[in-house]
């Protein structure tokens, strides 16, 4: 994927602002005797419009639960979650979701995967097709538009998943450890890819990770969570210059911030 490729006019709508107020979410215990587990209790969080927010925490701290509620896959037991003042009631195309694995539809070609959203919304066919092809070019998959997902490499599948979400022009991008299952080399390439994409579109991003370096490299702000029930342990502003390149990870400022975040995270166990 060439770096020059990502210089097209932004396709995103105005970025969305997220407000999370006093959210509680519990899961039932396995038997009647064992008590249910509270994943989140009285959780508050604001994400500014156009902000790249990283949710960092150990597994079981409720960060994925929170993301699922933001996506509208599950409802909070109490409290409120809203995007641009509108309460989240279910999944919707204005909130794009990227899962840990790309979750492409294996029976559709790359292009038809990207076209799933426009077709579901009843978008005009020709325009949607042109836009999908343009996005595939942006993510460097123009020559693979007729390939099926199993014919693509791991990184290509992730990029196809990005194109499939971006074609909906989401105001909010929700990512649940999207690069967690990738090998180290592809992972770095995907982080660079995401940074370029975000420089282009500047939509609001909520990015769940358990990798400190990834959080510092990508985020404007890092919310360190501790469980159970999940609470905000600390919030860090990442005042590193943008656009960010991978070379940033070698600087003293980066190392310093990384240590602070790691200490906050370790204190949370």
């Amino acid at each position: 994927m060439s770096r020059a490729a990502i210089q097209v006019e932004p396709t995103a709508q105005a970025p969305g602002a997220v407000a999370i107020r006093g959210v509680r979410k519990g899961f039932a215990g396995r038997s009647r005797k064992s008590a249910g587990r509270l994943a989140l209790d009285g959780f508050d969080l604001d994400v500014r419009a156009g902000e790249f927010l990283c949710l960092l925490g150990p597994s079981g701290c409720g960060k994925s639960t929170l993301l699922n509620m933001l996506a509208g896959f599950s409802a909070a037991d109490a409290g409120e979650i809203s995007v641009d003042g509108e309460q989240v009631r279910g999944p919707g195309p204005e909130r794009g979701v990227l899962f840990q694995t790309p979750m492409l539809f294996p029976w559709l070609t790359t292009l038809d995967n990207v076209l799933y959203g426009p077709k579901a919304r009843g978008a005009e066919r020709g325009a949607a097709r042109a836009e999908a092809q343009e996005l595939l070019r942006v993510v460097g998959l123009e020559s693979s538009s007729e390939s099926y997902p199993h014919e693509l490499s791991g990184g290509m599948r992730h990029r196809a998943a990005f194109a499939r979400v971006l074609v909906n022009r989401p105001r909010l991008l929700l990512m649940d450890e999207p690069f967690g299952a990738l090998d180290a080399i592809t992972r770095v390439a995907m982080q660079r890819f995401l940074l370029q994409l975000w420089e282009r579109d500047r939509m609001t991003v909520v990015f769940v990770t358990h990798d400190v370096e990834e959080a510092v490299l990508l985020g404007d702000r890092i919310c360190v969570m501790s469980g159970t029930p999940g609470r905000t342990r600390a919030v860090f502003d990442v005042d590193l210059p943008r656009p960010r390149e991978l070379e940033l990870t070698d600087t003293v400022e980066f190392a310093h911030l990384k240590r602070q975040v790691r200490e906050a995270l370790e204190g949370s166990h």
Partner: protein, 284 residues
């Protein structure tokens, strides 16, 4: 201990690479040689049959291959029973029609019930034990019951095929739908698909290849039970032909009927396999 783990870890990618090589370079060659060996197996079987037939020298117990083939070709145009009956092909068509009706309805019924069971837990708890109870029962066991309830017409034959098809289809459908990852449906919903659209274009679509596997198994089951089905006061059909020719000690004709069932079974399974290939790009 540490060293063994190392070799194991190192061996896995190597094995994968090797597999890829054979797939890329030797796939066509391997499938040709497999075909050749398969043909050799059939020829050996026919030779063995021929040798036994000559040793035994009794066409009622075991006719020769040529005699069976002659009978087969002969009855393609000749009626059985003589004058009032049908030719071999007409018998075959009758059986195909019975199977098409029973299998077709059974498949639709099985998918509908399986789909409901997969989405409504209460229904699943309700129906699951019933399937487990009826599944091991041979269709033959229902013949007297169905005759008492529905007489000796086509209804009993139709229901008997259903008994063989529906449980297989229900089990296959439930398993296929259960195997669809939740996140795949969530992806469809968050891309803007309505619940109904995602149900049809993601959940069912994703399960389709496995459901077709169930359809193939059910088709096999339907053909296996055709002889039993046509024991019920039939005057036509391959099962009837086999039963009746057997009673009259026309062994070559019995064998001709068996060969016809086997050919039809292969043809229908091949069609379903082609369908499966068409809907599942990962199996091409």
């Amino acid at each position: 201990m540490a060293s063994t783990t190392d070799t194991q870890v190192g061996a896995a990618p190597l094995q994968a690479a090797e597999e890829q090589l054979t797939l890329a370079g030797g796939r066509r060659g391997a499938s040709y040689s497999r075909l050749l060996w398969g043909a050799a197996g059939i020829v050996l079987f026919l030779l063995g049959w021929e040798a036994l037939a000559y040793l035994r020298d009794d066409p009622v117990i075991l006719p020769t291959v040529q005699e069976t083939a002659r009978t087969y070709v002969d009855y393609l145009a000749r009626r059985y029973p003589a004058a009032v009956g049908d030719t071999l092909w007409q018998h075959a068509l009758v059986s195909v029609a019975r199977i098409a009706a029973g299998w077709g309805v059974g498949v639709l019924l099985g998918i509908a019930v399986g789909g409901l069971m997969s989405s409504v837990p209460l229904l699943r708890h309700l129906i699951d034990p019933l399937i487990e109870i009826t599944r091991p029962l041979p269709p033959l066991a229902f013949i007297p019951l169905f005759i008492v309830w529905f007489g000796i017409g086509e209804t009993s034959k139709f229901l008997l095929i259903l008994v063989g098809v529906v449980p297989i289809m229900i089990i296959a459908t439930v398993a296929a739908l259960d195997a669809v990852p939740r996140e795949l449906e969530q992806a469809g919903r968050s891309l803007g698909g309505s619940p109904l659209r995602v149900l049809l274009t993601v959940r069912l679509r994703s399960a389709l290849p496995s459901i077709i596997t169930g359809m193939r198994l059910a088709m096999g089951g339907a053909w296996t039970s055709i002889v039993a089905v046509e024991l019920i006061a039939a005057t036509s059909g391959l099962g009837y032909l086999i039963n009746n020719a057997g009673v009259n000690l026309q062994t070559p004709l019995v064998l001709s009927g068996i060969v016809t069932i086997s050919i039809l079974g292969i043809v229908f399974d091949t069609l379903l396999r082609l369908l499966q290939r068409a809907v599942d790009p990962t199996h091409r």
